[in-house]
């Protein structure tokens, strides 16, 4: 279980990286934290001809506040830094809460946010979290820089909208509105494993006591992370009550046709997704009301 040979580059800057991407295109693979790519290379399931190691590009490792008061996260920022960042905890507690669910601390010490979203494993937490949060992905190529909204970023199984010559440089998360409740729930075979199925819920309750905004996303149910818009519609304009939550959860799973694999059947995933979605909505509501919710 040893990697096949490849040509290795370790550029120090974004520009150099983009230059290499332009030169090698589809032959090249970006090596960030390596926690997904390296296992595939060791198994020879991935055999890139060229590996561009961006770990020396320290300019991509940051968390800061942007002009729209959004959280701007450099693509190379380690998951462990995000987990420990006071700024992230304050500005986006959902993202902070998702971190401990990713692998184990040794994995998060290397794993990066950019690596995780670009790898786009449908059972991973970060793609679904960024999808629910409506993140913006900044992609840079020699020609231009463009911003890809989350809704158009995750295309198919382990495939994103990034072009072979583009580098993901930043992930932007607009601030949660005051009083926005959130939750992330999953079932995994073990702590730290990829989820069998997981859900993310964001819930905004207005002054009239009705749901003003709801964003629901699921992971581990499809070839990519999915938004559950029909479930969201069920919630909007209704009171945040158990009946509405149950109806929303039902609407969510009605939309799903989950995959079967060695860990669970599609049927299991539907059942568990409905349960987790109800649980997540209750937790999100509690947070929206400023109640304490025990995190795992």
């Amino acid at each position: 279980m040893k990697p096949a040979a490849f040509e290795y580059f370790a550029p120090a800057t974004v520009d150099e990286t983009i230059e290499l991407l332009s030169a090698h295109g589809e032959d090249a693979k970006i090596l960030a934290g390596g926690q997904s790519l390296m296992p595939l290379m060791n198994l020879r399931l991935a055999r890139p001809r060229v590996v561009i190691d961006i770990n020396p590009v320290s300019a991509l490792d940051y968390v800061r506040i942007g002009p729209r008061n959004e959280l701007c996260i450099g693509a190379l920022t380690r998951q462990r830094s995000l987990e420990q960042s006071a700024l992230v905890k304050e500005r986006n507690p959902l993202l902070a809460a998702a971190m401990p669910l990713i692998g184990h601390f040794q994995i998060r010490n290397r794993g990066t946010i950019g690596g995780s979203v670009v790898h786009a494993d449908p059972a991973a937490e970060l793609p679904a979290v960024t999808l629910a949060l409506g993140a913006e992905f900044v992609a840079k190529s020699a020609a231009a820089e463009r911003v890809i909204p989350a809704a158009g970023f995750f295309l198919e199984y382990m495939t994103t909208a990034l072009r072979p010559t583009e580098l993901l440089t930043e992930i932007r998360l607009l601030p949660l509105r005051a009083g926005c409740g959130w939750a992330i729930e999953e079932v995994a075979r073990r702590r730290g494993d990829f989820a069998i199925v997981g859900v993310v819920a964001l819930l905004q309750v207005g002054e009239a006591g009705l749901c003003e905004d709801a964003r629901l996303a699921l992971f581990g149910v499809s070839e990519r992370p999915v938004r559950a818009e029909r479930g969201e519609q069920v919630l909007l304009g209704n009171g945040p009550e158990p009946k509405a939550f149950a109806a929303a959860a039902q609407a969510v799973v009605d939309e799903l046709d989950p995959v079967s694999d060695v860990h669970a059947s599609g049927e299991y995933r539907r059942e568990a997704a409905a349960f987790l979605m109800k649980k997540a909505l209750h937790a999100a509501l509690a947070r929206a009301r400023g109640e304490r919710v025990d995190e795992r």
Partner: protein, 161 residues
């Protein structure tokens, strides 16, 4: 095929220089080039944790790093735990608590626990259990390892006083 590249690094306080092929994993580099065979390979895909080392102070899986990525790095392996022939309190605790049987996973657990205790010197039992959950042991059933981490935390705490 790419040419060999120079890797200069420090392992357990000692400097090394080697020319290596880019695809050589850091784990294989430590084991085969530096003869530091205490770092073990149990799965080579980042799940079992037997190859855990400290990379610039952070616990990482050395099977998921390339040796060339360690250029300039400061690395610590299980061979660096004991100082001047004195076992580290964690090593003593593992023996006291019978926290190892075949010993194959042990270096990975030790390095994980070492990094964890640096950050959380006074863990609860649940924290200690959680901290070692990314390492697989097939022999002990884990409880003795949890006990060993707790014993070592008391030891390091009392030595600091």
């Amino acid at each position: 095929m790419s040419a060999k590249r120079l890797v200069q690094l420090t392992v357990n306080g000692k400097s090394y220089e080697r020319f290596v092929e880019a695809r050589l994993t850091l784990a294989d580099f430590l084991r085969n080039e530096l003869d530091l065979t205490g770092t073990h390979l149990g799965c080579e895909h980042g799940v079992c944790g037997a190859c855990t080392i400290l990379f610039n102070g952070n616990a990482v899986r050395s099977c998921l790093l390339l040796a060339v990525q360690a250029n300039g790095a400061d690395i610590m392996t299980v061979e660096g735990l004991a100082r001047n022939g004195e076992l580290h309190p964690l090593q003593r605790a593992f023996q006291d608590q019978h926290a190892l049987q075949c010993g194959f996973c042990t270096p990975g657990f030790l390095m994980t626990a070492f990094a964890f205790l640096k950050e959380f010197p006074h863990p609860t039992e649940d924290q200690a259990r959680e901290a070692i959950s990314g390492n697989i042991c097939r022999c002990t059933g884990y409880q003795p390892i949890v006990e060993a981490v707790l014993q070592a935390s008391e030891k390091t705490a009392s030595e600091r006083k």
